[in-house]
Subunit: 321 residues, 2 copies
């Protein structure tokens, strides 16, 4: 993966709404990983192109663009976002959500590598069959949408590795070097981190949010919208718990039951930028239990690589390998 | 852990009702791991002592006894089961369920090592504080009772490792050598496997059950009794799905709602021995997605150790360590 992507360390920053801007992406790339700009965080394709140009001024290393394809009320001009990505000279696209098949020919023609993010073995195999260059496999522990299968990365990664021929990136739950080493053992070629990168100095997120992640343990995330079959793992604040309580009590839920509660809160963007932890619903993965500080990206990557090498070296020696 | 337990490979067979008998425990111990007899599978302390003696005739290697302490309608003579264990000369006891504090002094006086199985960091720390020699940490992917926190081993193991001073055994979701290597990277000193050992030649379980595990993928387990806060991961057969459907529909459930359904089925013992996959509820972990054959225990352990060493060696070399 490092050769394919032209990066030094097998650590990729996952696409994240509101957070995946030039400040963070350039910091990750400068640290030797792969930073990712989130296309739809920019209100228009033109603004994405400008963000790409801004990021290029902040790093001379490769970075990528995330394009998440989800059902939306207002149609999204995905093609134009891709035009901007290609025009901006970006050579790696992370797709997520729907099957990216229709976009693959144009990306390949333009020399863009496609990493598709998915939450099951069957979707990973599908991504391989339609021509993706790599897959990012997201386990139950991840922030955001883990799918409805609830298979954890300890099982999902080796199950996918056994059947894939393209390289696999481990995504979800990862934030330290021990876990990087473990992911490599499970058959991944790199790791993708979202939540861990939110708690870095360069993430464009309010300090109170970062501090809440440092203070939280691994039990402080919760799954919402399970009853809608659109499950999301979010930070377990009072609003999220209220949603869970409604879902648990009612059993079968309709979005109409939950919407007043969710609509009455501040959006995730405002929470992240405004720092009101309890003001709305915001995503976080179980890895918050392993986050104890707010380093810069360079320090984080250096530490992870050292820790991973140390773990592998120690075990190799004790086994006399 | 291997030195503490006097075994060759860091692989322990978890306590399992109906399955943890002398046939399986002796096979695991003869293969260089640690076999475990399940105390309460024997109807009386006298029968446990006989089972220990039977196991000793089948292996000259160390093996252990599992004692699971759960609320029951009929009182269980735990002390007498422990007497039998000590009288039988067993030197390792795996406790699970309730806090084993009251049994620890007698076990220690008799030179018995105590491994307590738990599903959270706080319970692991508690086990350490009351004098257990090791903890077996069980993640969300495990068969049987994962607790109510839903933290996966990819996060739970390093979170526990960071705070424990006694050795940790990784439990839940594990069935192959890649995972053994990953568990070691995450800070475990050994792995505990239940489900994977059911699908071995020596397990006293009907071939149809073993075959169902080979055919299943990682999505074919389900959680039942979540609404009772007594969650159990079981094989996703039609009865388990019916229980899940009732719980999902009703939201808040009472055991009285589920009991007629559960009581109307054959018991787990009869399913395992009778081979009627759909005849009742039986436990299975997500690792069923990684089980492709029914080897004997010697072959399974040899293969796992080779695969783990191979994974560590390959990564160590490619990193130039």
């Amino acid at each position: 993966m490092t050769q394919m992507l032209g990066i030094e360390h097998p650590i990729i920053q996952g696409g994240m709404m509101w957070v995946g801007r030039a400040e963070l992406a350039s910091a990750v790339s400068n640290a030797g990983g792969l930073g990712i700009l989130t296309a739809l965080t920019q209100p228009s394709p033109e603004e994405l192109l400008r963000e790409i140009q801004r990021c290029r001024e902040m790093t001379d290393k490769p970075f990528g663009v995330n394009l998440t394809i989800l059902p939306t009320i207002k149609p999204v001009p995905y093609d134009e976002y891709l035009d901007a990505t290609i025009e901006g000279g970006v050579k790696v696209v992370e797709t997520a959500g729907r099957n990216p098949q229709e976009f693959i020919p144009r990306l390949r023609e333009n020399g863009v590598r496609i990493i598709h993010k998915c939450t099951s073995v069957r979707h990973a195999l599908k991504a391989e069959s339609i021509g993706c260059d790599a897959v990012s496999v997201d386990g139950f522990e991840c922030a955001g949408h883990p799918g409805e299968d609830d298979v954890t990365n300890l099982v999902l990664l080796p199950a996918a590795a056994k059947r894939l021929t393209i390289p696999m990136i481990a995504s979800g739950g990862i934030g330290n070097g021990r876990q990087l080493a473990a992911a490599l053992m499970l058959g991944a070629e790199a790791v993708n981190m979202g939540t861990r990168f939110v708690a870095t100095r360069e993430a464009p997120v309010h300090d109170k949010v970062k501090q809440a992640m440092v203070e939280a343990d691994e039990r402080q995330t919760t799954l919402i919208f399970r009853s809608l079959r659109n499950t999301a793992r979010v930070f377990g604040n009072s609003i999220a718990k209220e949603v869970v309580a409604i879902e648990a009590k009612q059993g079968e839920t309709d979005f109409a039951d939950l919407q007043p509660l969710v609509a009455g809160t501040r959006g995730r963007e405002q929470v992240l930028e405004g720092g009101d932890i309890e003001g709305g619903i915001w995503t976080a993965g179980q890895v918050i239990g392993l986050i104890d500080d707010i380093p810069d990206c360079a320090e984080l990557l250096r530490r992870m690589v050292d820790e991973a090498e140390q773990a592998i070296r120690t075990r190799a020696r004790s086994l006399g390998l």
